[in-house]
């Protein structure tokens, strides 16, 4: 399969990327690793007229500390997240989640900014960012802004980003000692989660339980009120409307959410 024809522009800087976005409007798409966008273009689920390649923009990649936060550049690749000693020490759940994505070849190409902007409700990084209570930095014609993870995912494959904005970085709290767990239930190697759960401190987030990654609010409130892990995990599917597909019906997804939330809260990884 070959994508439909498009024009290609290599952005030399974030400003250049914004200029190109302004010039081409909604006909343009940003390209970094291309591991969500190119498969969609092959099957014509996306047919942009222009691709703006930001993979080589200086300063958009890398992992560093800023006060009590870890800052990760948008074009940082999954393999770099997974192998970063800094990230493993400061936000180990994020390094672990990155290592669960796809397979080594995919992790060599895919980027954190691309995965978050793609906003697949079953993907590893969106649910993890939500559990961490992190945020996303974007820049657009009216300047830079920060969007909290809780406000970032607005629908299936939809985010708060405008078509004229560029996601530049991701911020997560430094939390080496914070307890965490991660559960991803799949039927096949290198697949997306049928249900996934990321637990970080008192925050619990669910993948594949609705159109966006979701907080398990009833579980979080029960934990805050002193409930046991078993009691709190029983509430994990409250308020969710999971879909059904080839792999699982909605009831089975609710069951998985309860079981996997208990395991994640026990600090277990899948």
């Amino acid at each position: 399969m070959i994508p439909a024809s498009f024009d290609y522009a290599l952005a030399e800087s974030a400003e250049h990327a914004l200029t190109l976005l302004a010039e081409h409007g909604e006909d343009a798409k940003l390209l970094a690793g291309g591991h969500s966008l190119l498969p969609m273009m092959k099957v014509r689920l996306a047919q942009p007229a222009v691709l703006i390649d930001i993979a080589r923009v200086p300063g958009l990649s890398g992992i560093s500390l800023d006060g009590d936060q870890v800052v990760i550049g948008a074009t940082t690749r999954h393999a770099e997240l997974a192998s970063s000693a800094l990230l493993r020490a400061e936000a180990p759940i994020l390094a672990y989640a990155a290592a669960q994505i796809g397979d080594p070849q995919i992790r060599h190409r895919g980027t954190i900014g691309g995965s978050l902007a793609h906003a697949d409700p079953s993907a590893d990084l969106p649910v993890t960012l939500l559990a961490l209570g992190g945020s996303v930095e974007a820049v657009g014609p009216s300047g830079p802004r920060t969007v909290a993870a809780d406000d970032f995912f607005t629908g299936p494959f939809e985010t708060a980003l405008g078509p004229d904005e560029l996601l530049t970085a991701v911020r997560v709290p430094r939390g080496g000692p914070v307890s965490w767990g991660y559960q991803k239930f799949t039927r096949r190697a290198n697949d997306w989660a049928i249900v996934g759960v990321a637990a970080y401190g008192g925050r619990v987030a669910l993948a594949s339980m609705g159109g966006t990654p979701l907080r398990a609010t009833a579980t979080e409130e029960a934990l805050k009120a002193g409930a046991s892990v078993e009691e709190a995990a029983e509430l994990a599917a409250e308020g969710t409307s999971p879909g059904y597909d080839f792999h699982a019906d909605s009831d089975y997804r609710r069951h998985l959410a309860r079981v996997l939330t208990r395991r994640a809260l026990e600090g277990r990884t899948s």
């Binding site: 691709l51 390649d53 393999a79 796809g102 190409r109």
Partner: protein, 160 residues
Amino acid sequence: MEIKLTVNGTVRSDEAEPRLLLIHYLRETLGLRAANVGCDTTSCGACTVLLDGESVKSCTVLAVQANGSSVTTAEGLVAPDGTMSAVQQAFRENHGLQCGFCTPGMVMASASLLAENPHPTEQQVREGLEGNFCRCTGYHNIVRAVLAAADKLADPEATA
């Protein structure tokens, strides 16, 4: 647009339409037919090549994205005198192939794996080849081959 990249050590300069996939550039433009098109959906790994030393699925990379980079295919692992690399040799000695369709991709994924982790455990080899399917299901000998290649690379004097 004009792209310039190093393929198997040779600098290449070619005109590439933006939508040209790296796998098609390698196979059709350059005539390097080791990497195969299998699933065409970033799943099977038959099209795996090294891009700046790291394994990638070349069905999901545009040739223009590889502009300025270095690409290695299974052809490029063979020395000019025809001597196969340790990984290729190990696949042959351990019968790490049946029909052979997945083999070039398996070899490149294994080369990338051993570059990142020269002494993998059997479990790490299996996880490291998660992105490559062998539809003959010949995984046991493939894993044996990668472990043998790791031993050989660690001690080239040892007999196989």
